[in-house]
């Protein structure tokens, strides 16, 4: 491969890492005001986004190129992940800015962790080798574990963090075991190129594929854990509810994007030759996720918990696109991108309503929000309607796209299940809307002081609302771009 391109292939990660180092050095040396953090973090994320954009322009639609001895993939897929993850991290920081600023000198660490998580997430999407994928996964996950328990003032935040860490470590171990089994069956951990796994599977008839398939099963478990697909979702509600309000949005959005980016590449590009084996399993996971997520969301009385279960259901919807194999990857990205923005917006509102250090956000906090804070309520309503899949929102376009992909792949039953779950899902989304507009706060209930919305959060909500409406009304340009540019 071209040597001069070698560093450019990981340039986004380098930019982010440089920003992290600079941020911590500046923090220790000069103890600056909070705006200096913003400048450094913003510069790092802007550089990462710009470099991803450059990769996108240069590589979309082209075949995957690998660098660093087949460790890093450069293609439209990786570039797209960067274009999504880095701005998302920026929005996540804006949404959490008050939280970060309120943490005194530790605020810099908070920001550094978000940047590291973003770098790890991009590495997961750009990894061309299981080892590199695992490194990205751990960089990403470890940052999130710490972020989940960052405030250290509530015991349930510590509990959430520890739970996330224990279960995440467990899932990582399972994932690693899967990698080992795949290596045992194919003799490689590299995805592409001569002797890579894809090449080996395409060219070899395996008479006894048990080891390979066992490895595949364990890989699936590890990644399904990250995207909180049922039945590997159990951590999500506790963690989402325990983590500080300000950070939950980024936690939820980034985990989905990174997890699905890795899952899509591993399943379609690397193990595409075994699609007949994994597609039914993915379909069952998808169905289980939408059903379990929806059923459990219905009985929640806490909005953050409700959103956590809804994110389980959404993991199922996104998996629905993957049963179409490569043909569904464009639709998956569309759903993933629009959902990530929606969930970030929804948790941003939750942080404003219940406080950005608080864990819980009981439905009682939301009563009468339409009168107390009409703009917040309107933004939340839009996000919820989009998640419910109401037409003229991006959520509807995304659902249509993934359902269509699944129908084309012959999985009508899955789509029927998903549509039924969508209908049932309306119940809990509307429940929050009803609480906001039709319920009045209970007498003597201790409501958090009137919702405080910082400028960062306002910007996040404006962007989320605009994106949700624009891609809801005119989804086709984006869908076309995503479908055309992702050969993997």
């Amino acid at each position: 491969m071209n040597g001069s391109l070698t560093f450019l292939s990981v340039a986004p990660e380098i930019a982010l890492a440089a920003a992290v180092v600079l941020l911590l050095l500046v923090e220790v040396t000069f103890k600056p005001r909070a705006w200096a953090w913003a400048v450094v973090a913003g510069a790092g994320l802007a550089a990462g986004t710009a470099l991803s954009a450059w990769q996108w322009v240069a590589h979309r639609g082209a075949d995957t190129g690998t660098f660093w001895n087949g460790m890093i993939a450069v293609d439209g897929f990786a570039a797209l992940a960067g274009l999504l993850v880095f701005p998302l991290a920026g929005l996540g920081l804006m949404s959490a800015w008050r939280l970060a600023a309120s943490q005194g000198r530790r605020g810099a660490e908070f920001i550094a962790l978000v940047l590291l998580a973003a770098a790890g997430a991009h590495l997961m999407a750009a990894a061309a080798d299981f080892i590199m994928l695992f490194i990205g996964l751990e960089v990403f996950s470890l940052s999130l574990y710490v972020l989940a328990g960052f405030t250290r003032e509530r015991v349930d935040a510590d509990e959430a963090s520890l739970k996330y860490f224990l279960l995440g470590a467990f899932a990582s171990a399972v994932f690693l075991y899967g990698v080992a089994l795949v290596f045992a069956a194919t003799g490689s951990t590299t995805f592409y190129g001569d002797g890579g796994i894809a090449d080996y599977l395409a060219g070899t008839v395996i008479f006894r594929p048990g080891v390979l398939l066992a490895g595949l099963a364990l890989l699936l478990v590890g990644l399904a854990f990250k995207v909180s697909a049922a039945p590997f979702h159990v951590w999500a509600p506790d963690v989402y509810q325990g983590a500080p309000g300000g950070v939950t949005g980024f936690l939820a959005a980034a985990a989905k994007v990174a997890g699905f980016a890795a899952l899509a590449r591993v399943l379609t590009a690397v193990l595409g030759a075994r699609a007949d084996d994994w597609v039914p399993a993915v379909a069952v996971l998808a169905a289980a996720s939408v059903v379990v997520g929806t059923l459990l969301a219905i009985v929640q009385d806490d909005v953050k918990r409700l959103l956590a279960y809804s994110s389980v259901a959404h993991a199922g919807f996104i998996l629905t696109a993957l049963v179409a194999g490569r043909g569904g990857v464009g639709d998956m990205w569309f759903y993933l991108a629009t959902y990530a923005v929606q969930v970030l917006g929804a948790f941003t509102v939750a942080a404003a309503v219940s406080g950005d250090r608080a864990g819980r956000s009981p439905l009682a906090h939301w009563a009468g929000l339409g009168r107390r804070a009409p703009w917040l309520a309107a933004a939340m309503t839009l996000m919820l309607l989009a998640m419910a899949g109401i037409p003229l929102t991006a959520g509807f376009a995304g659902k249509v796209a993934v359902f269509r992909a699944a129908i084309d792949a012959g999985y009508l039953w899955l789509v029927i299940v998903a549509v039924l779950a969508t209908v049932a899902g309306l119940f809990f989304y509307l429940r929050v809307i009803v609480a906001m507009y039709l319920a009045s706060p209970e007498e003597g209930a201790s409501l958090p002081a009137s919702p405080a919305v910082g400028w960062g959060a306002r910007f996040v909500l404006a962007v989320a609302a605009a994106a949700t409406l624009v891609f809801g009304i005119a989804p086709w340009p984006l869908l076309e771009v995503l479908r055309d540019a992702l050969p993997l």
Binding site: G210, L212, F225, V234, L296, F427
Partner: protein
Amino acid sequence: MEAGEVMVSLLILLPLGGSALLLAFGRRLGEPAAGVLGTLTVGAAFVLAAVAGGDFLAGGAHATHIPWFDWLAPLGVRAGLLWDPLSALMALVVTGVGALIHLYSIGYMKADPGFGRFFAYMNLFVASMLILVLADGFALLFVGWELVGLCSYLLISFWFEKPVAAAAGKKAFVVNRVGDAGFLVALMLVFAAFGSLSYEEVLGRAAGELSTGMATAITLLLLMGAAGKSAQFPLYVWLPDAMEGPTPVSALIHAATMVTAGVFMVARTGVLFDLAPVSAAVVAAVGIGTALYAASIAVAQYDIKRVLAYSTISQLGYMFAGVGAGAYVAGMFHLTTHAFFKALLFLGAGAVIHALAGEQDLRRMGGLWRRLPVTTVTMVVAWLAISGIPPLAGFWSKDEILATLFARGGAWRAVWAVGLLTALLTAFYMSRLIFLALFGERRWAEGAHPHEAPKVMTVALGALAVLALAGGVVNTPWRPGLEHFLEPAFEGLDLAHLPSGATQWVLAALSVAAAAAGILLAAGAYLRARRPAEEGPTWELLRRGYGVDEAYARVFAAGGQAVARFTDEAVDQKGVDGLVNGLGVLVRTVGERLRPLQTGFVRQYGLGIVLGAVALLAWFLSRGGF
């Protein structure tokens, strides 16, 4: 686009634009500006139609297709207009009579709080009717068809604060929907058979491709739609009730234009009826049956507008008999002359009602000719025209239909005989109306001061009277101008023809004799000092329209309500709602059951992950084996 095409497009756009303007600013424009604007747009449309249609009179002009836009691209349906002699004639009638009625309405609707709204609806109606007649395919025809129905609803229930008017509007709409259902199915069959809805394709290919069975099915369903719109048996019940609308509406919609849509449609799709002789015969049978039936009911009505309503149904029956017998030109001819004299009759009746401050009962009129000279003269013209006294317009057209029916021979002679009897009845009930309303002793209430209508109204009456008087000249046996005019539109059709020579004279004499007999009978009964009591079971039965309305109310309305109640209580509330609520409860219960799984203990979560992993492993290993 050529100048002609622009003119024809403007024909629709002018009243449509006028309607939009009036809807938006009608209230601010006020009186009489809103009415003047409405009249001017329709009048301008008439001038355009006359100029654009002049080419056909000169002869040699071809039918032109005016493409508008791709409409339903996946079905290959385009929206466009067809300008040929048939649509030109209809456009002239609609805009000409329409303009006069608009003019009249400026006076009639004076001081009505909904003045602007009235003209907005009227303009919309004219535009819809023009869409209907100018469409170059079934799809756009259907748009006009439905819009016309909507306008009819809006105008019948124009005084919606009156419950009767609101109910009448609803009735018209519902009965029309019954016909429309058939019409819609007909369109689907047409599309299934031809893969197209344009006249050019369908009518051009029908002769070669359509089987008799399919043609019969399509045309019978088309007839269902036509019967709804043109108030033919058994779907006529809405028209008498429609008289609750303002009188100009009755004149424009329920006499001169909208109700002729069915006749026009049968004439337009004559090619299809040609292929289905059974359907054509059914059209004629329905028509002539309705003609006699409605005429007999008209004899016994006391409400002046209801007499005219049944008379309209009866005259439409003539037209149906004509087009059913293949006498398309005669049918269209009668449509035209009928538009003149029936509009005139309604407007005259409106002037009488206006003069008596809203009185509509013939028993409380009489002797008005002294007070209302202009109205009396013009109504007398219309009366003689509809009765079929030569040389007024109605004689020529009605006689042409009857003569053609006779000339076809065989069973058609029976149709002719019924038509002749109906002619006698027509002359009778019209004379009864005129004698009771305008002549004889005065019976109106003390203190009423009948006065002639204002100028705007009498001008319109005068113009229509001239048309009713001399409209027949366009198509006399000696100078069949209309026949030549319409010939290109019915090219290649199996047209019925007039009998020749002496037969024609004898038939004409018989018609005139029937008309004269009807008038004399009525004169004998109603011009005497003591008018007949009109009592007894027969009169009662006729007055109640043979009780058909009550029967419909009992069977369809009550039956429909019973079905609706059953659906509401048993199916919806218990079934559907129960299902939905039950499902909701079920889902919640399942959710609650699943909830304890979320214990919060990491060890149990870990166990869950392991179980999930084991399940996945089992699946993959079952596919691979070791």
